[in-house]
Subunit: 337 residues, 2 copies
Amino acid sequence: MSTSDRITLEHGSGGALSRQLTEELIYPILKNEAYGELSDATAFEIQGRVFITTDTYVVDPPFFPGGDIGTLGVFGTCNDLAVCGARPRYLTMGLVLEEGFPTSDLKRVLESVRRAADRSRVQVITGDTKVVPSGKGGGIFMNTTGVGEALGNHLLSAKNIKSGDKVLISGPIGSHGLAILAAREGLKIAACLSSDCAALFPLCSALYSLGKDLRFMRDATRGGAAAVLNEAVGGNCECGLEILETAFPVPTAVAAASDLLGLNPMEIANEGVFIAMVAPAAADKAISLLRSFDTGREACQIGAVDSRYPGKVILETAVGGRRILDLPRGLLLPRIC
Amino acid sequence: MSTSDRITLEHGSGGALSRQLTEELIYPILKNEAYGELSDATAFEIQGRVFITTDTYVVDPPFFPGGDIGTLGVFGTCNDLAVCGARPRYLTMGLVLEEGFPTSDLKRVLESVRRAADRSRVQVITGDTKVVPSGKGGGIFMNTTGVGEALGNHLLSAKNIKSGDKVLISGPIGSHGLAILAAREGLKIAACLSSDCAALFPLCSALYSLGKDLRFMRDATRGGAAAVLNEAVGGNCECGLEILETAFPVPTAVAAASDLLGLNPMEIANEGVFIAMVAPAAADKAISLLRSFDTGREACQIGAVDSRYPGKVILETAVGGRRILDLPRGLLLPRIC
């Protein structure tokens, strides 16, 4: 008996074929010393404060230039921990496969999970696989829940920001969202773009060494930089942000494609970019720390915290005007992560 | 601006409508002191060994007699922790909604999550919501990842079992799977059945007090009792199981419906039943502990561990024959949990 070419409903039944899929395909690729035997729950120990985060990935298509749903499932969830000042340690993986999904594609995704996990020094320690009938799923959906240990006692929060703090971005924006769109719709205009999907922990932990001068970090995924900037000051009655549009690093291909498609690069999802807010005196140090990493080589300041605009993000535009940069509205790109 | 009647793609965009759905609908229902603010990751502390488990629920239909996908998402995941000898503490929740899903149904599911979590004394501490286009999802899928703290140092495992140990079942089998099937297909034959969906932690923690006499517990979900019994001895070269078919508590309606549908109650999924293996001397005590709970009032012994059949489950059938009870094969009921 060998695993069939395509996933069938019986692979999700809990019977012999489920067992075979797990034992012969999934577990051999993912197993590690912390996931020593197949079981529904796994034990681990972490001293002190534990961080937990969860994300379900529904990206369409599951394979795209620069990565796939497996890469994304590992880096994306680990990044959510890293920006909190936590070292990612363990992941769980919940798969929802659509009947007919090619088994070879599943293998490819799992190999990406393994590679990304090894690079991130995290271990997948338990999982679950469901199968839904053809027409009731999207090929493959993947939930990863990540557990990390606090790097220190300093809690990062947008509540820490003060007027005068500097707003930094770790790298160029817009590549992930446009690469997905190009792969899905066959757009030649953005065919040269690759997702920026990357592990942010090394950069985040370098900034964490700044201590209390580091106020807050957040990765700019769904909703892009615009969403993160707004969420940082959304509930804040004392501070707002003044952001300089021309300061953002935007790859030429992203600028050209966004222009033609009527998209705003600041609203496009990234998977390897975060925004950090730091004390004024620490800004130069923070930028040079970020630039010491390949992923952060274009890190720069994009603005400052400003008490004149409580709760608002004010954008100084390329043509010299000023307007409110709001949370993105209207139909954005679906199934981007 | 108010949340619309149906979920739209924009609710999953990461922009203004995503924020609104989370802030106005999801968070107010789920918030608790451990989930004090909306963020991508949440911190907690647990002393000692931590257990983690993950499950994605794709049950069709999402509402059924005896519960819904929200009840299942909480009890199911907490039960996976409970049978490991862990007290469920925290849950994460990842939703995948299909465009067009009624917002009122989402509210109803979330209220079930809250009620089941309160009853189980667990807290939802972080979450994620994605929306997929119509035709690419199944209405609502829900991943819950559960974190629990070890009840003690004794690690439960099928590796602990010894010849002569007794095999117990906590309650009557088959109701959940048939209730879902009846609700999905409109089968009048099983219309009187309700899911047995229930929290097993109180029963499991009572058995944990038996110490090393408690060898192993596992809830009999997908694949039913047949799958659990086989998985317990699957990799075991020293022991097998001898199981008495007539010992299983089977509700009359389950027996009748299974008979007509050609299903084996031992292969049907349950959501409030587990199997425990205990030292011979502790069997009576274990049964009386289980029976002190309403969910366990029909608990009984169904067989024993036997060194004559290494790795096998031998079933003594109702008509007095003996056969191997194997892992379920062939198309079982899809989307049952």
